[in-house]
């Protein structure tokens, strides 16, 4: 196994916890190391950069970054897990040293170090990484400005009803939210050790800018050798084989089948990477296991609230041409005599024609993250709103009302279709 870095298994998913001071040591973000993998019989070559792949000859050209030696290796089956790179917006000045990206351990450390010296953190991009970092720095008493080009936060994950709540929550915690604000360029102001952020609206003087503009698949090594989609993500079949059956692919490097639409999409998540990796490893020996696709299920914590999502939003359904409707349920998550209590908001999206569940967005101060997993399973299994309305769920006053909130929101959907 070749890895160009000197570490393996870095959990980017925990970066916000490190930056926010909840996890003190970045080393805790690694759950594996080369030495341990070697004891499992895996020949790990870290600090080895794969420079070229020749799929006709079944060879790789590799540089040992410790010695600079370049050599060739061969394979019978190749598993491509080269992941993704952060999107670097194509604007002037983005290479200013005060403008940082956020993905790997080195980048996380650079942000951590810079934030020690800068009280005001500017974050560009209001997707889940940008929002998590805004929360982290609001918790460390930094001033935070979040610039988002779209008219709402988290637009790929939630619709306006929930994003309005998320935005209010961030603002109540002091985050300066700048929606509809597109960064046009960065201009260095070395005299003041600052960078000027030019946007379509106001300009901002910043000492530290973190750009969280999404991810692009890292597939240059296979360009022209296997089928890629328009974004450059590797297209695989259900066995995770590429168009060349001796090359399998897994993780952020691939497009995935998004079950709510049945179409290929690019959904870079550690959950997909982990599952696909395991399946690709097995399928290197033949057609052992199919990849079941994804719902893009994800969650994030916002101060004391949990936001969990799965499947299609109403916006995404409309964009995909899916005939969808939605309902919103709001109530206390458990009986009012149980204190403390909290309001739960659930938006359920379903297909008007066949009643299949397409997606859910949940927000509550109680941890409702596992409910998104339940809906994820319902989507994967093609369940309907009627299935969800009457599925057997537990009741205990500690946890929910006599009719669980998931049944409740699905009952609303059933009532809406009957109206």
């Amino acid at each position: 196994m070749y890895e160009r870095d000197d570490n393996v298994s870095f959990l980017s998913c925990g970066v916000a916890l490190y930056l926010g001071g909840e996890v003190k040591n970045l080393d805790e973000m690694f759950y594996e190391n080369p030495a341990h993998l070697r004891t499992e019989g895996i020949d790990v070559r870290d600090k080895h950069d794969v420079l070229r792949i020749d799929s006709d000859k079944h060879t790789l050209t590799i540089q040992n970054l410790r010695t600079t030696e370049v050599f060739t290796d061969t394979y019978d089956k190749l598993i491509m897990t080269t992941g993704s790179n952060v999107v670097v917006p194509p604007v002037m000045g983005v290479d200013d040293t005060r403008v940082l990206m956020c993905k790997d351990a080195r980048q996380a450390q650079a942000i951590f170090d810079s934030a020690q010296n800068h009280h005001h953190v500017y974050i560009v991009g209001g997707g889940y990484v940008g929002v998590e970092l805004a929360e982290a720095y609001a918790n460390t008493d930094h001033a935070v400005t979040l610039l988002q080009a779209h008219n709402q936060l988290l637009n790929r994950y939630i619709d306006e009803e929930l994003s309005a709540q998320v935005e209010r929550n961030l603002q109540e915690h002091g985050v300066d939210l700048q929606l509809n604000t597109r960064v046009d360029s960065f201009e260095s102001d070395d005299d003041h050790d600052q960078v000027l952020i030019h946007t379509n609206g106001a300009d901002f003087h910043a000492g530290l800018v973190i750009v969280c503009a999404g991810f692009v698949p890292n597939t240059e090594l296979l360009r022209g050798q296997v089928k890629l989609d328009a974004r450059g993500a590797i297209i695989t079949n259900d066995w995770l084989e590429t168009s060349n059956p001796d090359i399998l692919a897994a993780g952020d490097t691939c497009a995935v089948r998004f079950n709510p639409t049945g179409k290929l999409d690019y959904i870079p998540l550690a959950t997909n990477a982990e599952r696909q990796g395991r399946i690709a490893g097995r399928n290197a020996f033949g057609h052992v296991q199919k990849y079941p696709g994804t719902q893009g299920t994800t969650a994030l914590r916002l101060f004391s609230e949990t936001l969990a999502t799965t499947g299609l939003t109403s916006h995404a359904a409309a964009a995909a041409g899916v005939h969808a409707a939605s309902v919103i349920y709001r109530d206390n998550y458990r009986p009012v005599f149980m204190q403390p209590n909290a309001q739960i908001t659930i938006k359920l999206v379903y297909n008007v024609d066949d009643h299949r569940v397409l997606g859910a967005q949940l927000l509550c101060a109680h941890d409702i993250s596992q409910t998104a997993n339940t809906v994820s399973l319902a989507i994967q299994n093609g369940n309907t709103i009627e299935d969800l309305a009457y599925v057997d769920t537990l009741f205990n006053p500690h946890y929910d009302q006599p009719v669980n909130y998931l049944n409740q929101v699905a009952l609303l959907a059933v009532a809406q279709t009957n109206a």
Binding site: V44, D76, I79, A250, G251
Partner: protein, 47 residues
């Protein structure tokens, strides 16, 4: 059979471990008497 994994974060670690698990399972039930799979006449077709 030689399997090469390129990239060693979540997908790569999971893939390499899955490969090793299958090899371990196959070796534990192997009756060929060979000491290395490389020279085994069953090639990649063992169970």
């Amino acid at each position: 059979m030689k399997i090469v994994v390129v990239g060693c974060t979540h997908a790569g670690v999971a893939a390499a471990k899955a490969v090793r698990m299958i090899i371990r399972r196959r070796r534990s039930s192997c009756t060929s008497g060979m000491t290395t799979c490389h020279f085994c006449p069953a090639g990649s077709h063992c169970t």
